[in-house]
Amino acid sequence: MRSFISGNDAAAAAVHLARPQVISAYPITPQTTVVERLAEFVEDGSLDAEFVHVESEHSALSVAMGASLAGVRTFTATSSQGLLYMAEVLPYAAGGRFPVVMVNANRSLALPWNIYGDQRDSLSQLDSGWIQAYAENAQEVLDLTLMAFRVAEDPSVRVPFMVNLDGFHLTHTYEVVELPEQAQVNVFLPDYDPGENQIDFESPRNFGFSAGPEWNASFHRSHHEAMLRAWDVIDQAERKFHAIFGRRYPGGVDAYRCGDAEYILVTLGSVSGLCRETADSLRDHGVRAGILRLRYLRPFPHEAVREVLSPAKATAVLEKDISFGGAGTVFTNVRSAAPAQLNVIGGLGGADISKERIAGIFESLIQGESGVKWL
């Protein structure tokens, strides 16, 4: 069924279809309408779940973690300051390998206060041990959220999953979205089986314990390896998704006209469409431009990035983020896989990124500019 809905509505629709049993969330702009929709679904009886009204984001994720330990599918959503307020619980949930799915509406961080979209919130939490994916449009928000449950809960992964969508550009913009049928989703998404990671009265366990220096690294290595195994699971999920729903997704990166590109711009999230349009225009003028959109930042698609970027003459990374005193975090990550020369910081606090400015980035690349540049 086709429906004209916002990105937040798409996230809520996906959660509705995924049938979690415990949802806990705290409101924050621009995530709020996700939570409102889910509360409506629970109150009108169309979603048979417990909606826990928590007093903070710290508790939102803590409740989800407890429910996950009790053996049920869980969901939470947040944004910006809220994500940072739950920051202590992020590595806790990940280290405990609780496959909570979270939707994060990307928003700027204070100070100065700002409610609009940039990606400093989630990028500051890349090391928290969560899978992080970034959607480009409302359809992908829905599809990624469905896939998130399947990937996170896979017994070979068991890592929580954060689906990111740009504040306002995606959360509050309406698009035509294909809504899957419940019966199709039931085929795509198996029931959650927590395995050993659940309370068991027949064979009781201790959870979330301390592990001293002689044992500690082993747990983190297992977690890291589970993240790497996630690539296979993501691949299988995307194949299955295509078979059932007819939409195909390309894994860690979405490369556009990169095959013969001399100049490539790496992007994240909703700005990518405009970047592709710009690349098309530049190609009309003889510039061999390509766009590489990152879909996943954790696990980081090293191989795919290296493969696409290595043949290019020069690469720029455009991102709505800055690690003060360093460079953009996406840039740093891209450079861990392949050479990239230019890091363009733009869109902070919801600032507009125009086609002209994007064309200017390619101009800078052609001129041989490098380093960090403010759009």
Binding site: G95, G96, R97, R158, E196, N197, S203, P204, R205, N206, F207, G208, F209, A211, W215, S218, F219, S222, A226
Partner: protein
Amino acid sequence: MPLKRLPDKAPELTAFEAGYLVSPNGEWRSVRPVIDMERCVRCGQCYLYCPDGAISPEISVDYDFCKGCGICAKICGKGAVAMRKESDYAQLHQRK
């Protein structure tokens, strides 16, 4: 309570068999409770008030886990628990 052996490797998840003990606490003691069973009336107060659960309901002390705090001696209404120096038992330990 019998001890278990050290696991060969850490588990994948922070989830593990409950009540898994690999080391005793008895070496912490400098004094040990010795119960005079002639005086003991089996009231169970020492069993009840032991922070380590090291005295059974049948009033026998688990010296592997008794830390020698002396609460049992204080709580006993019959003066049936004496705290004796652990050094007197050192030889016994060696033999063990």
